[in-house]
């Protein structure tokens, strides 16, 4: 036992160890503070938080869970990208492969799908929590606006993913969704005032979404690129702002 402790002490005194771990682990206030500020992932948090804020029944962990599910979706999504090709001749077959051939493919696809739904739910209830605790009030007004944008982006992330399996469910769901786009006033060919700008089926907002006049190969590619690259980058950028503003607007909300 003493030998083990001796080796641990020797090890933790080496230059190499100290270059990686900047402080000791003895339970002192100083180390608790360092644990937060010297860790790139944890330094999102302040060193100290108000006592009421760590009660589960205050936040219900909803914002954090939403972010965590986003990370979960990123990891499973990247793994799915190894197997899935956004080509109308292959996409559905790739889904079948994922379900029956790829090791753990079924779990990968299924958990990605359910996590997507879960994120929509947690983000909605996070908004409800923030409203009920009045946390959008001054000085946090703008962060609420960012939150609304992130809510919309979450819907769009889930919606663009819906087409990717290239099955009947996704195809006709996207049909319903994009046909509503065609009804946009002025900018959709079926909407009011469409002829004002000479908007037709082949140059309206639905055309831009689908990359054509009907759901076909270009639509699948567009859904894929928006789903895997476009929207995650925009949402990621807004998340950085959202978290940053939580700190800059005075930390987690509390009684004034």
């Amino acid at each position: 036992m003493n030998l083990i402790l001796f080796f641990i002490r020797k090890l933790t005194e080496t230059e190499m160890w100290k270059s990686v771990f900047r402080h000791g682990y003895t339970d002192t206030p100083r180390n608790r503070a360092l644990q937060t500020i010297s860790n790139v992932w944890l330094h999102l948090h302040p060193v100290k938080v108000p006592k009421h804020a760590v009660k589960i029944t205050y936040t219900w962990c909803l914002g954090g869970l939403t972010f965590f599910i986003f990370l979960f979706l990123t990891v499973t999504g990247v793994l799915l990208m190894f197997y899935y090709v956004p080509d109308v001749n292959r996409a559905y077959a790739d889904m079948i492969d994922l379900m029956y051939v790829v090791p753990l493919g079924r779990l990968l696809r299924t958990s990605h799908r359910w996590a997507g739904h879960a994120m929509v739910i947690t983000v909605c209830f996070h908004m409800l929590r923030v409203f009920l605790t009045g946390s959008y009030k001054a000085p946090r007004q703008f962060n609420w606006v960012l939150g609304v944008l992130l809510l919309v982006l979450t819907f769009l992330l889930s919606f663009t993913g819906y087409l990717l399996p290239w099955d009947q469910l996704g195809y006709w769901a996207i049909m319903v969704g994009t046909n509503m786009g065609a009804a946009t006033p002025v900018m959709g060919y079926q909407g009011p005032f469409a002829d004002l700008l000479g908007v037709k089926i082949n140059n309206d907002v639905r055309f831009a979404l689908l990359g054509g006049t009907q759901i076909d190969a270009p639509s699948l590619l567009r859904a894929y690129v928006w789903h895997c690259i476009g929207i995650p980058i925009i949402a990621g950028a807004l998340m950085i702002l959202h978290f940053w503003r939580v700190r800059k607007d005075g930390g987690i909300s509390g009684p004034l």
Partner: protein, 240 residues
Amino acid sequence: MSNHAEAEVANNNKTEKVFSWPNLVAKEFIAAILCTVILLVYSYYVDAPLRELANPGEPENPAKAPWYFLGLQEILVYFDPWIAGVVVPSIIIVGLMAIPYIDVNPKGNGGYCFRERKFAITVFLFGFIFWYVLIIVGTYMRGPFWAFFWPWETWSFDFPTPPPLMSLPNWLGIFALLIYFGLGMLIPAVAFWKFAKQLGFIRYNITMSLLLLMMGVLVKIALRLMFNIKYILQTPWFNI
């Protein structure tokens, strides 16, 4: 209200702080683990849906949008697509973003407390529940051709023909809209004068417009269900 009392207690302890490590981080860690476990266990037992290969020649009936958009698809029954699919969601998004700027009541910040924000919480909860009720109707009670079925009924193509719809004559429609929005803006301004004055002219108008628009959706649904009204106003360019 116990939550109110809690907010009071929290108010007294507001300066009391604890270290994030481990008080906050440990809870986040546990929440993340539980979330992962639940997701994986659920996914292990319940497969994600996958239907037949997409076939443009064979429409699904009913064809449904993803569940979180079914509230909008549900109001397609009552409104033209440009309202249900574009104008309503746009107003919802803009209205949500406007909330912090039109709710100037400084009370109830940082705790669950109904007593000090009765109006704000009632309106928001109403909208939130309205959105989900529409989603539930759209998900579980709409069968082929978007016909209505109770959850305990089996979907079939043999449903009674819906009654013929009629539209209000335009003079009546314009009159009804003027009455609805005119009185809707005026009556609360008189009846809740203090509230209106506290908001100020511009905030009051924005708040009430948004509220009346939200309630308008409900009014149109009621008009359709009770009196088979198709349109309130018809113009060569659009109908409401």
